[in-house]
């Protein structure tokens, strides 16, 4: 069908009154797969569930959902559903289940692993209209929210009571709690406070069969298997969270942020090791290299010390007396490691200024490079210096610039591999460097993702980290809850279609296996 035909079927305003089932069918030529026909068949049913306003069928509108934060992967969704209630979500999923149509959950679309990449023959289930904070329950130190609520909005709502929501991914003002649950999002402060999974007490889940099930609640330790623990981080492959009970954490009495500048990454790395080694547990230790600093300066004028080859952002929080002692200790340790300037900020404004540079770093790289790949890998902290050196070598050998922004405290690297997308073959070369960095992580006993998730992007890289039996076991679990494979298919685990004939083949021997601590069969 021609574009113009689509366009004529479109609507003018926000209401998705667009084309009808007939048009949707017309988009599918007679040769369409049985599944494709099924999506079109669903449209009247979906409209009955969601109303005129809750379903997008116009192609130009659907196209705006073609990717999440990882734009390299694109696919126009069959239809877009914008439910406003758990019942609507359940009804849509049940419909998909009955017709064998895939569905893909999506929150704010900020994910960086294409975990919300739409299915062209499926339903994209967007929670952006389910954004009510249902309850801030201070007595029980929890918040009850709908999945589309932005992470930071929980903290905003809890702050007047002296509480906050601890997980703070750098997209926290945008990213949704439902997305955080799907990805088990961390953030700068997970070094001390853990990840989403450590802060979710209860979940209402629509299962792939379309049943609405309540797991846990305001009370901890629900009886039976820890399904909440397994659901968090399952990337939408086990269903859709429609209501989330999260822990609220008491705002620390005192928070101090230090910014320490070094003339080499090695010196910064030494400071990190000695801070951890001395038994200080900062809430965050972040590191940026010269290129990342340059980008942040260009974007937000964060005014980091001039000439720094590395900056360390260290945050300490807790009871005043403990924090004061730790600040002195960290200042001393940074100086010992060779820091040429350390700034200490305790007011909210000053701290925000230090964080501004760090938090904007990813997007800011857009200022110094036409395009870039954000990598996410983890190494044991003690392997950081070695791995960073190897990344520098990789960069030098390939002539591709790599900016480093990372959570140094827990060894979570975020190399930003820069390239010019206008240049022929540049993406492929950058992608190669990026993949080699992941290999480095696995080689050092780390992980292919610390917080961005596997999604589509790394599904084919799972065999580098896990053996065939591990992967088969993951799949066994997945199939136990989604036997028909309609929930976010082709994400998280390698499939022959995505990864070629032998998804289970492992390229490298995992160090655990090499050292005899783990075995493979």
């Amino acid at each position: 069908m021609s574009l113009a035909e689509h366009e004529n079927a479109g609507n003018t305003g926000r209401a998705a009154t667009a084309d009808d089932a007939g048009t949707a069918s017309a988009q599918r030529p007679a040769t369409a797969s049985p599944r494709a026909a099924a999506v079109a068949d669903l449209v009247p049913h979906l409209r009955a569930i969601l109303g005129e306003d809750g379903l997008l069928t116009d192609r130009s509108q659907r196209r705006t959902y073609e990717s999440d934060g990882l734009t390299h992967h694109r696919e126009v969704p069959g239809v877009v559903a914008l439910p406003t209630s758990a019942d609507q979500v359940a009804a849509v999923v049940r419909l998909c289940h009955e017709h064998g149509v895939p569905f893909v959950p999506r929150g704010a679309g900020t994910g960086l692993s294409a975990g919300a990449l739409p299915h062209s023959d499926g339903v994209l289930l967007v929670t952006s209209r389910m954004r009510r904070i249902l309850e801030i329950d201070i007595a029980n130190e929890c918040a009850v929210v709908e999945p589309g609520v932005a992470n930071l909005d929980i903290t905003r709502a809890a702050a007047p009571h002296g509480y906050y929501y601890a997980p703070d991914p750098s997209s926290q003002q945008v990213c949704s709690v439902g997305g955080n649950v799907a990805e088990n999002s961390g953030g700068a402060h997970c070094l001390k406070y853990g990840f989403t999974v450590n802060h979710v007490r209860g979940l209402d889940v629509v299962t792939p069969a379309g049943d609405l099930v309540r797991l846990g609640g305001k009370a901890a330790d629900a009886p039976g298997y820890d399904l909440i623990g397994a659901f968090v981080g399952s990337e939408g492959t086990l269903g859709v969270a429609t209501r989330v009970v999260v822990n609220l954490t008491r705002t620390p009495e005192k928070t101090v942020t230090l910014l320490s500048a070094f003339d080499s990454m090695d010196a910064g790395g030494r400071a990190v090791s000695s801070i951890i080694g001395e038994g200080v547990l900062p809430s965050a230790i972040e590191m940026m290299d010269a290129l990342a600093i340059e980008a942040a300066e260009a974007a937000v004028a964060c005014d980091y010390p001039e000439g720094a080859a590395a900056v360390l952002v260290v945050e300490l929080d807790g009871p005043t007396e403990e924090v004061d002692a730790q600040v002195a200790q960290v200042e001393h340790l940074c100086a010992q490691a060779g820091s040429f300037e350390t700034r200490t900020a305790s007011s909210a404004e000053e701290r925000a200024l230090i964080w501004k540079g760090r938090k904007s770093a990813f997007a800011a790289v857009g200022r110094i490079s036409p395009a870039y790949i954000v990598q996410d890998g983890v190494v044991p902290r003690t392997a950081l210096p070695e791995v960073l050196r190897r990344i520098t070598e990789l960069s030098a050998d390939s002539g591709i610039r790599v900016a480093n922004v990372f959570h140094a405290g827990d060894g979570n690297l975020h190399p930003l591999v820069l390239f010019d997308d206008a240049e022929q073959g540049a993406w492929e070369r950058a992608e190669e460097v990026s993949a080699q960095i992941l290999d480095l992580c696995v080689e050092h006993g780390g992980s292919i993702t610390g917080e961005h998730g596997v999604g589509v992007d790394k599904a084919c890289k799972m065999p580098r980290m896990y053996g065939p039996d591990d992967l088969e076991t993951f799949d066994l679990f997945r199939r136990s809850l989604d036997p028909d494979g309609t929930a976010n298919p082709e994400k998280l685990l390698p499939t022959p279609r995505l990864c070629g004939e032998q998804p289970g083949v492992q390229r490298d021997v995992h160090p655990l296996v090499a050292s005899g601590h783990a075995e493979q069969f």
Partner: protein, 397 residues
């Protein structure tokens, strides 16, 4: 790939009266000394359709009902090894490693696993399989929060690893969550990797007793509102005794002095400050009926007041994670009645962990288990013939 060429060591022997679990004597007992041996043993057991139960230190064999059938008891005590990366604050241990050995090892490096065991003499595998966490879960998280990786041998003998040895990792499903507290019904835990912490320089215990509920509630609220950041706030109540609150503070000696003062202010001037933990800290009674009670945290003191007239109540008040303990020989009807009283409250869940021998018929151990259908689906996938600790799974699965 690893060692089918290695000479198999005899790992299986006949069962003895000491190997009895809940009155059932296993015909055979396996004592594997490696993950590979464990795998081979379980592969064989699968081929022969044998019912399997696991044993670590044997301290929790009376937790959960007796298995419905038992052919092979797998004793993990030879799966004992510690691989510690002090610089990374990570340790990986064999499931049969005694918790005490692990703690002694870590202490030499000034580190610890921030977990208070609830039983003495247990193994790491047993702690993980039962999943129960002691008082300091308040600040440091329950045991499930400290596990970063796990190797499990599935009921069909396949070895599967999830997670890893780095503290941050979201690759793949977090299957360790299912096995933590899974009571060995989904497979055999072979090894576990944990995140560690540096051992704090000093510790204070601030303790106070309260005659009435209002006093305890006020003190608890004030501790929560104060910025002292306790690692634990343990509440206890029992028939004929006052309410007691014990707050644990950890940190530097200089920092602890003012923090303890503020905790005393919050808990009342009669509160006492100690410089160490009492013996038996966090341990639950080793005999008599024992139940988990979880309530919305704001109702912890209410639960202690309501049920404390009939049964011992103790646990982490700010998490609402409590346990109930009765003297041995308590009539099952009384146990059942307390459980029913608790289950009648919205959002309260009570699970009987240990019953006196022979009383199982008289008490519903589980009550309603939300999500049971999903749990059954998981069980059916991993253990389709229900051979692993049959009857010990959620809702009696």
């Amino acid at each position: 790939m690893a060692g089918s060429s290695r000479t198999p060591i005899p790992v299986v022997r006949d069962g003895t009266p000491q190997d009895t679990v809940g009155g059932l004597a296993p015909a055979r007992v396996a004592e594997p000394s490696s993950t590979e041996e464990l795998s081979r043993t379980l592969t064989e057991a699968a081929g022969e359709g044998r019912a399997v139960t696991l044993r670590g230190g044997g301290t929790a064999q009376d937790w959960g009902p007796p298995p419905r059938s038992l052919d092979l008891l797998v004793d993990t005590s030879r799966l004992s090894w510690i691989d510690h990366d002090p610089g990374d604050l990570v340790v990986e241990v064999g499931a049969g490693t005694p918790v005490a050995d692990l703690y002694a090892h870590l202490a030499k490096e000034g580190q610890r696993l921030s977990y208070d065991p609830v039983r003495a003499g247990g193994t790491v595998g047993g702690a993980v399989a039962t999943g129960a966490s002691g008082p300091r879960r308040l600040l440091h998280g329950a045991l499930r929060d400290l596990v970063i990786g796990m190797t499990v041998v599935r009921p069909d003998g396949v070895v599967a690893r999830s997670g890893g040895r780095v503290v941050k990792n979201v690759a793949g499903y977090d299957l360790a969550k299912l096995h933590t507290g899974g009571h060995g019904t989904l497979g055999a835990v072979a090894s576990v990797a944990f995140r560690l912490q540096p051992e704090p320089a000093a510790l204070r215990l601030v303790e106070a007793e309260f005659e009435d509920r209002a006093g305890a509630e006020r003190a608890l609220a004030q501790v929560r509102e104060s910025p002292v950041v306790p690692s634990a706030v343990e509440l206890s109540a029992a028939p004929g005794t006052p309410f007691s609150l014990k707050a644990v503070l950890e940190g530097t000696p200089d920092g602890l002095r003012p923090r303890a003062d503020r905790a005393v202010q919050a808990m009342g001037q009669h509160a006492q400050v100690h410089e160490g933990l009492p013996s038996g800290w966090g341990l639950r009674p080793t005999s008599g009926p024992l139940a988990w009670l979880s309530v919305p945290p704001a109702e912890s003191v209410e639960a202690a007041a309501l049920l404390g007239r009939r049964v011992g109540v103790e646990g982490c008040a700010p998490r609402g994670a409590l346990h109930l303990s009765w003297p041995e020989g308590t009539p099952p009807a009384e146990v059942a009645s307390v459980l029913e009283e608790a289950r009648a409250r919205p959002e309260w869940a009570a699970t009987l962990v240990r019953a006196d021998p022979g009383t199982d018929e008289a008490v519903d151990r589980w009550g309603e288990v939300p999500g049971l259908a999903l749990m059954r689906a998981v069980k059916d996938s991993f253990d389709p013939d229900h051979r692993f600790a049959p009857g010990r799974g959620p809702g009696g699965t």
